[in-house]
């Protein structure tokens, strides 16, 4: 029963990791950009949520109404003002510029919020649980997982059933020809980044309710998201959810064996999958 519990908890945790990963996967799919500052943006969103809840007394989940659009605007401006200039054949500029951004965000947060760990207060939601067949499921983890499924379904739907998604795919296929169709790729990229950071905002708030956070933990979240993306296979959003779940289960099962092994066993699971399935489980982009 303990083991089953660990697996179920890990699966639910995987929902959070899938949310970390979805934004990463989206921007890679549209513009082949890997944002090293992605984890720091998750933490930035958590701090924005903290500020909103303390300033207005809103419940953290309601703070999403403000934080999601804010992060979206940040994403659009960042993309058009900075990141679009880095895109091209050379790998270095986007990598190093987002790395610089990561340092800036991290230290900016330190400057504003200090290094003290913070947490968002979500009241009864944090401790509420339901008993299902002998297992005690926290309402928050279940909610997180459900949100992850909904977000990925929503992104998938946007990608394959809307004009915006069509534009995303067209620009991703062939930027020049997409321009000939009247699509301004700089704008499309901006929208993609806005969407990605909107998802990041959701991830950040859910993270900030679940655990305490401080400015230094962004790198770790980037790595979790990245591992979920690679395990699932590049360019496959549902694969990302599977990747997140595998990572989450590896962590909770590892922690069950020895608490010190939680994070490490997640990484080892990732490396194992990299060794046996280098392209992940369900690759779409080669």
């Amino acid at each position: 029963m303990d083991w089953l519990n660990a697996i179920v908890q890990g699966t639910l945790l995987g929902g959070l990791y899938a949310l970390f990963a979805a934004g990463l996967s989206l921007i890679f799919g549209v513009m082949r950009l890997v944002n090293i500052a992605h984890g720091d943006m998750i933490i930035l969103a958590a701090y924005l949520g903290l500020t909103v809840t303390t300033a207005t007394g809103l419940h953290p989940l309601l703070a999403l109404v403000l934080v999601v659009p804010t992060m979206g605007v940040i994403g659009y401006v960042l993309q058009r003002g900075l990141l679009n200039q880095t895109l091209g054949d050379d790998l270095l500029p986007p990598l190093l510029v987002t790395f610089g951004l990561s340092v800036i965000i991290q230290n900016g947060l330190l400057e504003v919020y200090s290094a003290d760990p913070q947490k968002m207060d979500a009241g009864a939601l944090e401790t509420a649980s339901v008993a299902v067949g002998g297992l005690n499921l926290g309402v928050l983890p279940v909610l997180t997982f459900a949100v992850a499924v909904a977000v990925i379904w929503g992104l998938q739907w946007t990608f394959y059933h809307t004009a915006l998604g069509r534009a995303f795919r067209a620009v991703s296929d062939n930027q020049d020809i997409a321009q000939l169709m009247g699509l301004n790729r700089r704008h499309i990229f901006g929208v993609a980044m806005a969407l990605a950071l909107g998802v990041t905002a959701i991830a950040g708030i859910l993270l900030g309710i679940r655990t305490s956070f401080d400015p230094s933990i962004g790198g770790g979240r980037l790595i979790f998201g990245f591992e979920a993306v690679i395990i699932g296979g590049l360019g496959n959003l549902w694969g990302t959810l599977v990747g997140g779940v595998i990572l989450g289960v590896a962590q909770t099962v590892g922690a069950k064996i020895d608490p010190g092994w939680q994070i490490l066993s997640g990484h080892l699971a990732f490396l194992l999958i990299l060794a046996i399935r280098p392209n992940g489980l369900f690759p779409r982009i080669s």
Partner: protein, 235 residues
């Protein structure tokens, strides 16, 4: 006297240090079909890329309906009614046939061309509408590329070697369809290596040779000798 829809004045084009076009002057009249011929590497595709804004141009080198568009981006030019069927078709592989057509309409221009009209022109595309565009035959892919450009309801449409890599019978079909496509006041530039095909559908012809205009004339009066001299540079 019809107005020119497109005017090029001393158009240059560069790829890094390499200059591909040297001072090209050219004019396309409203409702006219223009042919551009020239051997491999003469600069025909480069010219198309310059006109559509995919290559950056010097100031005042390209005028569209009297307005200087040299500095505009490709998407800004596209919404003004300039569409292209690019060399090698270049369909979007992640989009279905229908989506490839739909995205052509993204510019949001009104006109006779919509999905139904394209399906009527190329009925096979309706049958294949949900297939991935890469699963079609070469000829069918070319139909999608043409349909995609038409969906923009352009005023000026550029065809870059639409017969390239297609079987003669299919080329014949496509050229037979062309007059019906280009009718109704649309202007067109047809880039073609097959000289007789190009001359048969156009009213005037330009020949490019190593980035320069080597011949300009009416399609029904230019002589074979003039063309071969302009084409191969044989004096």
């Amino acid at each position: 006297m019809p107005e020119p829809i497109l005017q090029l004045h001393g158009l240059d084009a560069h790829y890094g240090d390499f200059q591909a076009l040297y001072g090209v002057d050219m004019k396309v009249m409203e409702g006219e079909v223009l042919a551009i011929i020239g051997s491999n590497g003469a600069g025909k595709t480069t010219l198309m890329r310059s006109i559509t804004g995919l290559l950056s141009n010097g100031p005042a080198q390209i005028k569209y309906r009297g307005v200087d568009i040299s500095a505009q981006r490709a998407d800004e030019i596209a919404v003004q009614g300039l569409a292209m069927v690019p060399e090698g078709r270049q369909l979007f592989p992640s989009l279905s046939v229908r989506e490839n057509l739909m995205i052509g309409a993204q510019v949001g221009r009104k006109g006779p061309w919509d999905l139904d009209a394209v399906y009527k022109l190329f009925p096979i595309l309706e049958e294949r509408k949900d297939q991935q565009s890469t699963s079609l035959s070469g000829g069918q892919q070319q139909m999608v590329a043409i349909g995609r450009a038409l969906m923009a309801n352009p005023d000026l449409i550029l065809f870059d070697e639409i017969s390239l890599g297609l079987a003669p019978i299919i080329i014949k079909d496509i050229y037979e369809a062309l007059p019906g496509i280009i009718g109704e006041g649309m202007s067109a530039i047809i880039v073609e290596q097959d000289i007789s095909k190009a001359l048969s559908v156009s009213s005037r012809v330009y020949c490019l040779q190593e980035g320069r205009v080597s011949l300009e004339g009416a399609s029904d009066t230019v002589s074979r000798e003039d063309i071969s001299r302009a084409y191969f540079g044989i004096e």
